[in-house]
Amino acid sequence: MAETCRQFLKDCGVDPERMSLEWASAAEAPRFVELITGYVSKIKDKGPLGEAEGEEERERLIRHLKAGVKAAQARKPRTALGTLSKKLHKEGNFSKEAITEGVKAKILPALRSERILQEIKILLSEGALSLDELSKEVKAEKEEVEKHLSALSKKGTIKEEAGKWSMA
C-alpha cells in the first residue's frame, strides 16, 4: 500500500516524501515523539504543498489529486493492487525490490491510466481543450492522452471540433 501510494503520489506531482509510514509500538512513546518531531520539521523544510514540488500552479496539483482519488476507487487499479498483494503474500516475498518492481509494473500503470482518463473528463467538463493543452495539463505524453480521447469519442462521451476537444 505504502509503495503504491508513494509511486502514485509522484505521478500526481506530490513529493512522495511527504507521506511517511513509521512503526512505533505501544511501549515506544519516546520513539513516537522522535518520529513525529522529525517528520514535522522535514515537512516544514519542504514548505507548503506545491512549493517544493515546483508546480507553478497549486490548482493543477489539486486537480491531479482529485483525479487520483477517483482512480484509486476504480476497480481496475484496485484489482491490480489486490492481485499483487495476494501474490506476494502467497510467495511470502516481502522484499523491497519485489514490492517496488511489482507496483511499478502492475499497479502504477493502471492507476496512472485511470487518473489521466479522469483528469481528461474533469478538464473537458470545464471547457474545450486541444490535445497539446490536455497533454500539458494532465502531465502525460500525447500518445497516452490520445488513447483515452479516441476511446471516449468512440463511446460518444466527447467530440472534436477544430482541433479542440469538448464534452459531447
Partner: protein, 948 residues
C-alpha cells in the same frame, strides 16, 4: 475503580468497620458499623458549594496534610462514591449544634444531619481482608528531623508535590520558603530493615518509588541535583532493574550506598553525614530531604485480628504460609495485598484476583444466587434513525486539559458545527455525577450521536459506551476526541496551538459522529473448560482452583511427571518440606474428577478465540483435538546453566539447587569442608541475562543457614551485588549475618573468579571494604544461577503471545492486568511470567484461575462489534480478502450460484486490510466505514473539503 462504582453487584459501604464475624465458612454473619456521611450520596451533585461556605478549616489528609480543605468535602475530584461527606470531628453543627451554613447553601438538599450510625448485619459466604498498610510512626521519622525541619518530607508528601492535581499543581517547592529546591536527598529504609523501630523486614517498594519520584522530579526540573542513599538497591520486580538503570542513566541520579543516621538543619538547609562502604566519611548540604518511608502493618491490624479471629505474624501482618499464601488461619477468611506482607501494586492486584479465586472455589455451589443482572433498556431504534442530533461534551479534566486548552472556546466552536444541537463543558466527564448528567442531557435533548472531547478512547470509550447503553442508545454512537493525551498534555507550552488543534479534533470527531451507525452486540457461547499448559506448581495450583470452581480442566505436561521445578526443591523459604507440598498437590490433582492430566504432551497449534478455542495436542506420537474456552500458560522456567566459574570442571562447584539435592541426601559430603563460597547473580543482572532473578539472594541465604545448621563451624562467604532479600525474607538475611556468615559486595567489573588448583579450588575476589584482593581456598563453591526462561519462543509463536526482551511472557498490563496476555482468553502464571518464589507462583496461579474462570462462569462472551461487513451484492468473489486476512476471519462461501466473501465475526479483529484491498469497495468496517474516515479527512481541512 470507576467500574467498581458502577457494578450492580458491588455494594460500597464507606465510613465503615467490621465489628464481628460469626459463623462458619459458607455461612458467616458479619456485623458492620457504618458512621454517617451527613450528606446523602444519591442527592449530592458534587458541586462543592458546601466546601466553599463552610467556616471550618481541616487539614487535607488526601494531600498528605500539605493543603487545607473544609469540614464538608470530597477527597479528590474522581472519588467514588462521587459524593461529598462531612468530617464529623471538625463540623460545628455535629459537635456544637451551631452553624448549619452548608445545609442552607446546598441546592440539592443533600445535607442531612439527622443521619445516625448504622449497624449492618450481612450474611456472607467468605471474607477477604484487604485493609492495606499503615504508616511508620512519626517517632521514627523525628530521628530524621521530620516535624522539626519543614523541608524534611515523607515520600508520600513528595508524591503529592510532584502531582499535577496536588496542592502545588506539580511544582516542587520547599515548604519552608516556597522556593524550588536545587539539591534533594532521598533516604531509603526509613522504618524498614530497622530493628530499632521493630520493623526488621524490607518494605519491598521504596526503592522503586524513590527512583520513580526522583525521575518525575527531574522531568519537572531537569537541573535538580538528586541523590538517593541506599543500603541495597532492591529493584527485583519484572523489568524493574532495567527501568532503574535507564532512570539512572537518563536523569543522572546519584546513587550513594550509605545509611544516613540523622538529619540536621544548618542555616535553613539540611546537613547530612554518611559513611561509604570503603570506610570514608562524607557530608553534604541539601535543600530538601525526602524520607522513603516503609509500609507498616495497618493501624487496625490487631482489631481486625480480634474481630475476624485470625492470627498475625511477628510484625503484625497477617499470618500465612508458602503453600497457601492467601489463606489466613481461619477457614473462609482470605487475605490480599499489603496486609499479607509489604508489596507493590502488581503483586497486590495479583493476590486480589487470587483471593477471589479461592472464595469462588469455596462458594461455587452458590454462584449467581445473589447477584443482580442488569438489563439495559431496549434500543430506541427510531431515534437512532432520525437525522443526527449531536451532543458535544468538552472535558476540563480538572487542569489536565483546561490548564492548556481553552475549553470554553472549544465548546463554543463545537456549537457552530453542523448537526450539533447541544454543546457543554464538564469538569471531569468520567466522574459518576458527570456521567449521570450526560445521560440526562442526552435524554432531554433527544440526542442520537455523542462526541466526548476528553481523553483517549483506548481507556475511556467503554465507559461512555455504557452510559449510552443505559439510556437505550447503541454504544457505537459515541465518538471521542482525544484532546488530553494527544493534545493538552503534549503541547503544554503552546496553549493557542493546542486550542486550535483541539478544535480541529472536535470538528473531525463531529464529522465522523454524523455518520456513525448502530452496531450489533453479538455474544457467543463459551466451552466450559480450561486448557492449562505446564504441570508444575503454578499449573497444578491453577488447575485445582478452576476444577474446584466447577469447571473441567485439561492439564498438559511435557515431561513424564507432574511437578516441574518444585521437584528439585527440598525446603520452602519458610522451612516447610517442599517434597510434601509437591506430593499433596499431585495427589489432589490426580484425584480430582474435573481434571484430566496429559503427560508427555505438547501443544501443537491453537485456533479460535476466547470462549471457543480448538487446540491440537500431540502425545506419544499421536495428536488429538481439544475444545476449550480459555487457556493458561504455566510452562515454567529453568535454572540458568552457569558458564565459567569452573562449573562442570570441578565437582566442588555446584548450583544452589544441586546443593539442596545433595543436602537432602545427607551431610557426609561436608565432613572435611571448611570454607563454602557462594556467588550471586551468576548469569543474572547483565552477566548473560539482563534481568534480576529475584529469589536467588533469599535462596542462597536459606541454604547458607541450612549449611550452618548441619555444620556450625563452616565459614560461609556470600559474594553479592545487592542483597535482595525483600519483605520478610530480610529476617533470614539478618539471621545469617548474626550467625557470622560473611557477605562481601562485588561489582560487575570485578567479578569473583573460581580458580582450579592442583588440589581443590580457590576463589579470588576484590573486597571493597579492605580495598584489596582476597583469596579463599574453598571446599565448596555454590553458584546462584538465575532463572532463565523456558522454551517460550516457540509457544509464543503458536499462541501469538508476545515475550519480553528477557524471553518471558509479557502481561497485558503490568499493573492492572498482571496475569492476562495480549490474546483474549489466554492467561499467565508462574515462572513463564518471570522469576518468582513458590508462594508468589501459587498466588499468581490462583489469580490466573480467577481470570480464566470469569468467561467460564459467565457462559457467554461478547464479540467486539468492530468487524468487517461484506456487501454481497457488490462482492465479485475475487478472494483477495480471504488470502490477505491475517486472522483467517473472512472466507468465500457459495451464495446462490456465485462465491461471495463472508466475515467470521468472532475471529475478526477489525484490522480492515480486507476493506482497503477490496476492488469493488464491497467491504466496510463497523465503526470505521470508508464514509466516516473520508468525512474525518474532509473535516481535517478548516474550510471544509468535499468529495467529488
Amino acid at each position: 475503580m470507576v467500574e467498581a462504582g458502577r457494578s450492580p453487584n458491588i455494594e460500597i459501604i464507606t465510613n465503615a468497620r467490621l465489628e464481628a464475624l460469626e459463623g462458619k465458612p459458607g455461612q458467616f454473619l458479619a456485623k458492620v458499623h457504618q458512621a454517617p456521611r451527613y450528606i446523602n450520596e444519591d442527592l449530592c451533585t458534587a458541586c462543592g458549594m458546601c466546601t466553599m461556605y463552610c467556616p471550618r478549616p481541616v487539614v487535607d489528609t488526601y494531600n498528605e496534610r500539605l493543603d487545607i480543605t473544609r469540614a464538608p468535602h470530597i477527597d479528590y475530584a474522581q472519588a467514588i462514591p462521587s459524593s461529598y461527606y462531612i468530617d464529623a470531628k471538625a463540623c460545628l453543627r455535629v459537635n456544637y449544634d451551631t452553624c448549619n451554613l452548608c445545609a442552607q447553601t446546598c441546592t440539592a438538599g443533600a445535607i442531612d444531619f439527622s443521619q445516625k450510625p448504622k449497624k449492618l448485619e450481612l450474611n456472607v459466604g467468605a471474607v477477604v481482608l484487604a485493609p492495606g498498610f499503615g504508616k511508620v510512626d512519626d517517632e521514627v521519622l523525628e530521628k530524621f528531623g521530620y516535624g522539626k525541619y519543614p523541608d524534611v518530607l515523607t515520600s508520600f508528601e513528595f508524591e503529592r508535590l510532584t502531582c499535577a492535581s496536588g496542592p502545588t499543581e506539580g511544582h516542587i517547592v520547599r515548604p519552608s520558603d516556597n522556593k524550588p529546591p536545587k539539591k534533594i536527598a532521598f533516604l531509603q529504609c526509613i522504618g524498614s530493615r530497622d530493628e530499632t523501630c521493630g520493623n526488621g523486614y524490607c518494605s519491598s517498594v521504596c526503592c522503586m518509588y524513590a527512583i520513580k519520584e526522583a525521575s518525575v522530579a527531574k522531568e519537572h526540573e531537569p537541573d535538580l541535583d538528586i541523590s538517593i542513599f541506599f543500603m541495597d538497591v532492591r529493584t527485583m520486580g519484572k523489568g524493574f532493574d532495567e527501568a532503574r538503570k535507564r532512570a539512572q542513566e537518563k536523569y543522572g541520579i546519584n546513587v550513594i550506598r550509605a545509611r544516613v543516621p540523622r538529619v540536621d538543619q544548618v542555616d535553613g538547609k539540611l546537613a547530612l553525614t554518611w559513611t561509604t562502604p570503603d570506610g570514608e566519611h562524607h557530608s553534604g548540604i541539601f535543600d530538601m530531604v525526602v524520607l522513603s518511608v516503609g509500609l507498616e502493618s495497618p493501624e487496625d491490624a490487631e482489631i481486625i485480628s480480634k474481630v475476624a479471629d485470625i492470627e498475625l505474624n511477628h510484625y503484625d501482618f497477617c499470618k500465612t504460609s508458602v503453600d497457601a499464601p492467601l489463606a489466613t488461619t481461619r477457614n473462609g477468611v482470605l487475605v490480599a495485598g499489603a496486609f499479607q506482607g509489604p508489596k507493590d501494586i502488581p503483586e497486590s492486584v495479583t493476590q486480589a484476583s487470587g483471593a477471589a479465586a479461592i472464595a469462588s472455589e469455596l462458594l461455587s455451589d452458590a454462584r449467581n444466587t445473589e447477584t443482580i443482572t442488569v438489563t439495559f433498556p431496549e434500543e430506541n431504534v427510531e431515534l437512532e434513525r432520525e437525522e443526527p442530533r449531536i451532543g458535544v461534551f468538552v472535558c476540563h479534566c480538572g487542569v489536565n486539559i483546561a490548564g492548556v486548552v481553552d475549553v470554553k472556546a472549544v465548546r463554543d466552536y463545537a456549537g457552530t458545527l453542523p448537526g450539533v444541537v447541544l454543546y457543554e463543558d464538564t469538569l471531569y466527564s468520567c466522574s459518576q455525577d458527570a456521567l449521570k448528567s450526560i445521560a440526562e442531557k442526552i435524554k432531554e435533548n433527544r440526542l442520537n450521536r455523542v462526541v466526548i472531547s476528553a481523553c483517549s478512547p483506548r481507556t475511556h470509550e467503554p465507559l461512555f459506551q455504557e452510559t449510552l447503553r443505559s439510556i437505550g442508545l447503541n454504544p457505537a454512537l459515541v465518538e471521542m476526541a482525544n484532546i488530553r493525551d494527544q493534545c493538552a498534555w503534549v503541547h503544554a507550552q503552546e496553549p493557542e496551538a493546542a486550542t486550535e488543534k483541539a478544535k480541529d479534533l472536535v470538528r473531525m470527531a463531529v464529522a465522523k459522529a454524523r455518520l456513525l451507525e448502530p452496531l450489533d452486540q453479538p455474544t457467543v457461547d463459551v466451552t466450559p473448560s480450561a486448557l492449562i499448559l505446564g504441570g508444575g506448581a503454578a499449573g497444578m495450583a491453577s488447575a485445582l482452583s478452576i476444577a474446584d470452581q466447577g469447571f473441567k480442566v485439561i492439564l498438559v505436561e511435557k515431561s513424564k511427571e507432574l511437578g516441574g521445578n518444585l521437584k528439585r526443591l527440598t525446603w520452602t523459604l519458610d522451612g516447610q518440606d517442599a517434597k510434601k507440598v509437591l506430593k499433596d498437590m499431585v495427589k489432589k490433582v490426580k484425584a480430582h474428577k474435573n481434571i484430566e492430566v496429559l503427560t508427555e504432551a505438547n501443544l501443537e497449534s491453537i485456533s479460535g478465540y476466547v470462549g471457543n478455542f480448538t487446540s491440537t495436542i500431540s502425545r506419544k506420537g499421536k495428536t488429538e483435538m481439544v475444545n476449550h474456552g480459555v487457556m493458561i500458560i504455566a510452562t515454567g522456567g529453568r535454572e540458568y546453566k552457569p558458564k565459567g566459574y569452573a562449573y562442570g570442571e570441578s565437582p566442588r562447584v555446584l548450583t544452589q539447587l544441586e546443593l539442596e539435592e545433595k543436602l537432602s541426601k545427607g551431610k557426609s559430603f561436608l565432613k572435611n569442608a571448611r570454607n563454602v563460597v557462594m556467588i550471586q547473580c551468576v548469569g543474572s543482572r547483565g552477566e548473560d541475562m539482563s534481568h534480576c532473578s529475584r529469589l536467588c539472594c533469599t535462596q542462597a541465604v536459606k541454604n547458607a543457614l541450612k549449611l550452618k545448621e548441619v555444620k556450625s563451624d563452616l565459614n560461609i562467604f556470600i559474594f553479592y551485588r545487592d542483597m535482595r532479600t525483600y519483605g520478610f525474607y530480610e529476617d533470614l538475611y539478618r539471621k545469617a549475618r548474626k550467625q557470622g556468615i560473611h557477605f562481601i559486595r562485588y561489582t560487575p567489573e570485578k567479578r569473583p573468579e573460581v580458580i582450579k588448583q592442583a588440589r581443590g579450588i580457590k576463589v579470588k575476589a576484590f573486597d571493597p571494604i579492605l580495598g584489596d584482593d582476597l583469596e579463599i581456598p574453598a571446599s565448596l563453591v555454590v553458584l546462584s544461577p538465575g532463572i532463565a526462561p523456558g522454551e517460550n519462543e516457540e509457544l509464543s509463536k503458536v499462541v501469538k503471545a508476545p515475550l519480553t526482551s528477557d524471553g518471558f511472557f509479557l502481561e497485558a498490563h503490568a499493573k492492572l492486568r498482571p496475569v492476562e496476555v495480549a490474546v483474549d482468553g489466554v492467561y499467565l502464571c508462574g515462572l513463564a511470567h518471570g522469576p518468582k518464589s513458590l508462594e508468589e507462583s501459587i498466588a499468581q496461579a490462583k489469580a490466573a484461575a480467577a481470570k480464566a474462570a470469569i468467561p467460564l462462569a459467565k457462559g457467554k462472551v461478547a464479540v467486539a462489534p468492530i468487524v468487517s461487513r461484506v456487501n454481497q451484492d457488490a462482492c465479485i468473489g475475487c478472494g483477495i480478502c480471504e488470502s490477505l486476512c491475517p486472522f483467517n476471519a473472512i472466507r468465500l462461501e457459495k451464495v446462490g450460484k456465485r462465491k461471495k466473501a463472508q466475515t467470521i465475526t468472532a475471529s475478526c479483529k477489525g484490522c480492515g486490510i480486507c476493506a482497503s484491498h477490496c476492488p469493488t469497495l464491497a467491504i466496510s468496517m463497523g465503526g470505521f466505514t470508508d464514509e466516516a474516515i473520508m468525512a474525518q479527512i474532509h473535516a481535517f481541512s478548516p474550510e471544509g473539503c468535499k468529495e467529488e
